[in-house]
Every structure is written in C-alpha cells, then in structure tokens.
C-alpha cells in the first residue's frame, strides 16, 4: 500500500462525497420509485425530472430553525442526530468497493462495521429518550428491542461466512468469491446447503436494522407520528433521514460483499467497481420496492419472527456449515 499521506485523504474525500451524494439522492430515488409504483410522477418541478429536489430540500431544512422544545435533555437531544450520521459515514471507510478501492483495509473490518451499526441504534434510543415525548419514548423502546432481536441472527449469519472464509477482513471475504456467480457465498452449496436461506435471513435483518418498512416500528408515522423524530426540526431531522439512507447503503454494500461476491462479475468477466455499484443499487431498489408494497408489521410479530424463525434457522445453518467444513 502507498505510504503517502495523500492517498488516505483523497480516499476520504471521495468516500464522503459518495456518502453525501447517496444520502441526498437516495431520497430522490425513493420518491421517484414510490411515484413509479403508485402510478404518479414523483418530483418533477425542481430541475430536470426533479433532479435538484434534494438540493432544494437541503436548503429548506437548513434555513429552518432548529427547535429545541422545553423539557428536553439539551445535550443528548443535540448529540442524537450527529450520532445517527457519524457511524454510517465511518462505515464507508472500511468497505472495499473493488480490489484496490478501499479507504482502510482493516483486518477486523466486519467487526468494526457491526460495532458501528449498533451505535446507530443508540442514536435512536437517546434521541427518543431526550425528546421527553411519550410517542418518542415508546419508539425508542421499540427500536432497542427490535435491534437486539435482529442483530443476533445477523451476526450468526456473518459467523457462518467468516467460518467459510476464515477471515474477518471484508477484502479477503470478497476475494474469496471471485469468478462466476457459482463462487458467490449465496450459492456455495459445497459449504452448506442452506446458503440461500442464510442470504434471505441476512437481507431481512438488514431491512430491520435500518428501520425500514415493513419493519419501521420506530418511525411508524400512523401510530407514533414519527416516533423518535417527532420533536426534531431542521437539519436535526435531516441528519436522521440522511443517516437512514446511509445505513441502507452500508447494508446493501455489506450484503453484496458477504453474499454476492463483491465486485466480481456473475460470468467472470471484467470484475470491477461497476459490478459492485450495480449490485448495491439493485439491493437498494429492493429496499424501496418492499417499503412501498407492504403494510407495517406489528412489534410482537416482528420479535416472534426473529426469535422463533430467524435465530433457529441461522443457528442450524451455522451448525450445518461447521459440519460441512469439518467433513469435506
């Protein structure tokens, strides 16, 4: 690796720009996607097909007053939105976009990513708690129980992958799956016959982790109005929204690297960063598609799904994989 100081700096700027653009333009994509599904056009007024809409939204949010209601915990109330944004941004650093595009190749990058993902949940918790609003507190409690329930199957699935690869480095995990799609972890039937199930479990968990519909228990605008975001205005709200979109990007990147072969081409041709981007945007579109198709689930049904179905299945898969690795 280049030891010059410029390389990390340039990388950081690029990743920040990528993250910022995604946070802003996924909002636009979501609205266009929703419009498409609902047989309307979505934003059309600001710029060509509403392309400048995120800019206008950002300007509007920034020009609004950051209202801090009476009776809130002032420090925590201000920290929460920042805490929602920073871990998602930081996660970008360790994600390998291709064999030579990666901010920092950490040996334990998988571990770091999951540690950062948990901080996002803490942001929701303290945001809801500090608001001092009953709806926000209910939402915070929901967010915690939901995240606890979904991190377990997610981590068990990741352990399966780590066992197959023998490394916790995302770069190594992706390198291990180079070649055609039959090398991808999702189709690694030689390691475990349940790998596609594992992929589905991981995907469901990443939807739940990012608090997206149909698992948007914490937000639930028709039950809890907007949950933890009820009392936030201006960029406080904006940061929560951007944090949510960034978490989607991180979730899609992680799914791509762990299961879909990272930057490898399905047919072994021209591997590169474009394949990585195609895969993550297909996954992100699936997130949007699910959100605008399904109604919301119920809290205890969600927990039942996790504890009674996802965790047993992921444990079975872990054991089967261990047996396969031992036997073959």
């Amino acid at each position: 690796m280049d030891t010059s100081i410029w390389r990390p700096i340039i990388y950081l700027i690029c990743f920040m720009a990528f993250a910022g653009l995604n946070a802003a333009y996924l909002g636009w994509c979501e609205r266009k996607g929703a419009g498409r599904i609902q047989r309307r056009t979505g934003p059309m007024e600001v710029g060509f097909h509403g392309l400048l809409q995120p800019l206008a939204d950002g300007l509007k949010l920034m020009s609004k007053q950051l209202l801090v209601p009476e009776g809130v915990d002032h420090i925590l109330f201000r920290i929460a939105p920042i805490l929602a944004m920073i871990p998602a941004l930081t996660s970008m650093v360790v994600i390998p976009f291709s064999d030579n595009i990666q901010g920092r190749a950490l040996e334990l990058s998988v571990l770091l990513l999951f540690a950062l993902a948990s901080i996002g949940m803490i942001a929701i918790l303290i945001g809801g708690w500090a608001s001092g609003n009953k709806y926000a507190v209910i939402s915070a409690a929901r967010a915690v129980s939901q995240n606890l329930a979904y991190e377990i199957p997610m981590l068990i699935t990741v352990i399966t992958i780590v066992m197959i690869t023998g490394s916790m480095n995302l770069q190594d995990i992706a390198m291990d799956q180079q070649g055609g799609f039959w090398h991808w972890n999702i189709f690694r039937f030689d390691k475990s016959i349940f790998m596609p199930v594992s992929f589905i479990i991981f995907f469901i968990c990443s939807v739940a982790e990012t608090n997206r519909a149909p698992f948007d228990m914490a937000e639930a605008e028709s039950e809890l109005i907007a949950g933890f975001m009820t009392e936030y205005s201006s960029m406080g709200f904006g940061l929560f929204m951007m944090g949510e979109y960034l978490n989607i990007v991180v979730g899609a990147c992680l799914t791509t690297i762990l299961f879909l072969g990272g930057w490898s081409c399905p047919f072994g041709l021209f591997p590169g960063v474009w394949w990585f981007l195609i895969k993550i945007y297909i996954l992100i579109f699936t997130f949007i598609w699910i959100r605008w198709t399904y109604p919301r689930t119920q809290v205890y049904k969600l927990l039942n799904l996790s504890w009674k179905i996802l965790i047993p299945f992921s444990l079975v898969n872990l054991l089967v994989t261990a047996a396969f690795i031992k036997v073959f």
Partner: protein, 373 residues
Amino acid sequence: MTVPIQCRPDEVFVLNLGPQHPATHGVLRVKLTMDGEYIVKAEPVLGYIHRMHEKMAEAGSFAQFMPNTARMDYLHALAYNHGYVLAVERAAGIEVPERAEYIRVITVELNRLSSHLLWWAAFLLDLGGFTPLLYAFDDRERILDLLERITGSRLTYCYFRFGGVYNDIDDEFIAGTRDFIKRLRSRLPRMYHDLVTHNIILIKRLKDIGFITPEQCRRYGATGPVARGSGINYDVRKNEPYSVYPEFDFDVPVYTECDSMARYMVRMDEIEQSLRIIEQALDKLPDGPVKAKKVPKILKPPAGDYYAAVEAARGAFGCRLVCDGGKSAYRLKLRSPTFCNLSLFGEVAEGMLLADALAFMGSLDLVIPEIDR
C-alpha cells in the same frame, strides 16, 4: 390477542391520542391509560366539532336543513340525504316517481362504493401501507367525476329533493357507470385482493385482533359492517326495506369471525354487492319524471312523529322527525351509526397493544363529524 395485564398504578401513563393524531382521521381524541405499550383504559373524548345540526333543523325550514345532512358523514353524504328526505316525505305524504327512486339507489350505491374505497385506503394507511391509498383514490376519483356530472358537487352532495332528485341522469352517466363497473370488477381481484387482502402481513395484523362479540354489538347498538362482521345479519336495506331495494337481488355479506379481518371482508364483499345493485338498477331504469308534481315550496307536514332509516356505509342511519304542523321541525333526532360503533372502542381496546388498537380503530371506519353532529 388479549393478555391479562398486571399493572402497577405508579407505572401507567396517560397518552393523548389525538385530537390531531394521523390515525384518528379527524378530531377524535382518545385518552389512553397505558402500561408500556398495553392499553389499560381507553376513553374516547368527543365534541371537538359539535355543530348543533339537530338544533339547526329546528331553526330553519325543511329544505334549508338539506345541505346539513351531507356535512355529517361527508363520505357517504347521499345516504344521509336519503334518510332525511325519506323522513320528510313520510311526514308530508309525498309520493316519489319510480325513476327518481332508481336514480337515488344508483347514486347512493355509487357513493357507498366511494366511501368503502376511501375507508380501504385510509385503513391501509393506518397499517402503514401507503401505495393502496393511491390505487383506491384512482378508482374513487372516477366515481366522484360521475357524481359531479349529475349532482354538481364532489363530496358534500345536496342532490335529493323532497319528492325526487334535483337532476335527471343522462346517457353519458349511464355509459360512464357501466364502464366504471367493468373497470372496478377487473381491478378488484388483482389490485385489491392479490396485493392487499391476501398479504400475509395484513392477515397477521387483522386476524383475531379486535374481537367484538354479537352481545357487545347489541349492547352498544353497533350496526353496519361492524355488526355484520360479528355475525349479526342486519341490513336496513333487507330488514326494513325502503325505496326500491326489494326489487334488486343482492346478498348481505355476514362473517362470524368477529375480528378485524371479518369487518374488512364484509366491506370488501359489499363493494361487489353494490356493483351488482347498480348494474341491476341501470338495466331496469324506467322512464318518467324525476320529481313529484305539486310539492309545495314551503312544507308544513301534519303534526306527528315520523321515523325513517337507511343503510349508510357505516351502519343504520336513523332520522326521527317530530312535527307540530309548522314549517320547521319541532325536533329532529339523528341516529348516526359511527357514534355507536365508536362506543365499543373503549371496552374492546382494553388490554390491546397500541398498534393493534389503531388497526382495530381503523376497522370500525370512523367518520368524526358524524359522531359529533
């Protein structure tokens, strides 16, 4: 799901649901005593948009009260028009021409469809599904266009007159209605049932939630889809026939599961039955005048006590009219179905989770202006 709750008095808190909560569809306020996410006690607080409709009937002439009826249940306004004109016609002894009766049935049923479609949309919105709202509004828009052509308004109709209707329907309306029936029939199985009714999340959220026993229905006087979802076969159109309803062949959907899903299915089936009624009415539509001759400008019905009831989208709407021979009502008592249906809420919601209670509230199909009158 009823879970016995053991709450400690120091751990409950009061949550004000409304009057500006998105799930209450208006200015309903429910005072919820909560233990965590479980509801210990639910107390609907009414009166935020009380407008003294009944008093207004005593102040003005009979014709002057007509527009008020549409302001109660603004989603099924024509049924309220119908209930009021029926009561006044009974009092004044006015005969309605047959064509007018048919037109009344067609428009009321179209309006019922639009009301059910809007309920469906709003209910799914309560459950967190946004897309069905726009699909339903697409269809509802066509009904509103049709009704606007002949009634002149889109929501708060004042279309019926004592002894007939204001305007005759034309060929374009008939053709448009037939087109609409065909369109909704083709969309119902695919866009409504495949996408939503058979969705596992929806089924899991509605099945065995919000259990209303037939006994509770009788005690609170619940009518309409709420009662029919609890196995009570009561529909004013069948049980106390009025207008030309006896001439049509239609079924009254009754489900005995008593849960939110049963109420959902009742309304979905009613959409199909309304389509059937409209189709038959269009086929049988007779020629003739649409207004009775010699209806005096100022009505002075003989003194007496009169009652008329119609089946509105939310249940039985009753109109009790007491006349003293003057040109305005001595007393007009309006029996609105949603008031009774909402009264159930407090008793049934006890022990429910907040999210389930809101889904249950959506399945009651509340229209707040009608509760407060």
